[in-house]
Amino acid sequence: MISLMVAILLPLRSMAIGEQLYAQHCAACHGADGSGGVGVPLNLPDFLAVASDDYLKITIREGRPGRVMPAFPRLSDSELGALVTHLRSMAEVPAPDYSPQPLAGNAARGEQMFTKHCESCHGEYGKGGSGTGVTFSRPRDAPIVAPALSNSGFQQAASDAMLKATLLRGRKGTPMPSLSSLGLTEGDADDLVAYLRTLRTDSVQMEPDDHEVVIQYESSYDLEQTLENLKQAVVGRNFRIIRLQHLEEGLARPGAENPRTVMLYFCNFALLNEALVIDPRVGLFLPCRITVLETEQGVQVSSINPKRLSHLFNNRELDRACQEMHDMYAEIIEEATL
């Protein structure tokens, strides 16, 4: 009787844990039902039919360095298993069983086919499509951002046999065609896989450089003059001033706020839109803001350091934008304070 109860309850518990873990860690990006969002759709039958359990587990554990999908190194094996069980419940297709043997193909031939058939979506050298997928109802060109085939996480997770199966099957619900629809053969798939294995994987720095958490300058002027200088510097760079506000506004009762700590919010809508297209999550650090604080030691002017925060998003495309934002903050503050 007890063994029967255990036999019934254990799978039930695993399914329930998987569902909870999915809701907690995955649903925000991949959608509650796996239909995708910031992350790729997971509930496509053609995906689950070719994705092995190992592929799913390694992907969850290692993530995709520099491509938004974070790593979850602290999830236990049983939690990973529960998550995979939940993912499997999204489509009525059996898990594939692949041979671990590497395939032998002609990489040079594969490269020619890749350039002709794959590069337009997967990018030069398999660096992947741009952006993070559908975001707060913004229309997108395709229902999925083409994966970065050169990504170290992808290369580690996908076996040769799984790559081949994906090529042969294609993926309904995405722009990925089957090889046969392109007039290619199984032998061509071997060659393509051989080429994919030659792609140089990105070396993405997962830890931040030794950047300061803030950009900070001492001002040569008093608080009022520094604020005036800031406004001029901001407007001079085509930003619109949104508002000036005491740090304690809304926290202290009106009139009791510390008047010596002031925040200047400003924005350039074209740049804001550009940043949100790259990654909608950066809105967390927008619109732009510089804070001026007067103490007995003098007037300090500071902002967040976007270069320091860039790594939080695990999105390599953001690095350039964060560098530009850093330079813009530094120029504005320098001009206003010197």
């Binding site: 602290r74 927008l286 790594h311």
Partner: protein
């Protein structure tokens, strides 16, 4: 039986380590509902909502179907004064904040963890403060996520 099982599951899931630098949750609440629940939950945690900032001005002119994107600032006055006095450079990270934006009929919420600041401010007081902020933000997000 079901409630017992749910209890076990919640306990196990809560115990799972969160490896992310960002906390992001999805709720099936519509944007206005989620916004109301978020502010109420922040207050329930003893925090004051100091401002709701629009991030979406002009987005529709760039082809977005919706412009529901806000950042909710919150904190405690004493906490903010203490940090400002001790570590004035940290003022750029204050008040604390949670971003909230619509995706279709659902709503996403996002906050940063404080891991990137921990190594720079090793004092016991700051570590304890980061712990408290971290616990608060995770609980707030989880409560909004599980609201119906």
């Amino acid at each position: 039986m079901k409630s017992w099982l749910t209890g076990v599951v919640l306990l196990l899931v809560t115990a799972a380590a969160n490896a992310q630098d960002l906390y992001m949750v999805r709720t099936q609440l519509s944007f206005p509902e989620a916004m109301a629940v978020l502010q109420e939950t922040i207050r329930k945690h003893g925090q004051v909502v100091s401002r709701v900032q629009r991030v979406d001005i002009g987005l529709t002119t760039f082809g977005y179907k919706t412009d529901k994107y806000r950042v909710v600032f919150y904190g405690e006055l004493d906490d903010i004064r203490q940090v400002t006095n001790q570590y004035p450079e940290l003022v750029s990270y204050l008040p604390l904040k949670i971003a909230i934006f619509a995706e279709g009929d659902e709503t996403l919420l996002l906050a940063s963890s404080f891991e990137h600041l921990r190594g720079i401010y090793p004092s016991a007081t700051m570590q304890s403060r980061f712990d408290r902020w971290e616990k608060n933000v995770r609980e707030i997000l989880e409560e909004v996520r599980s609201s119906e």
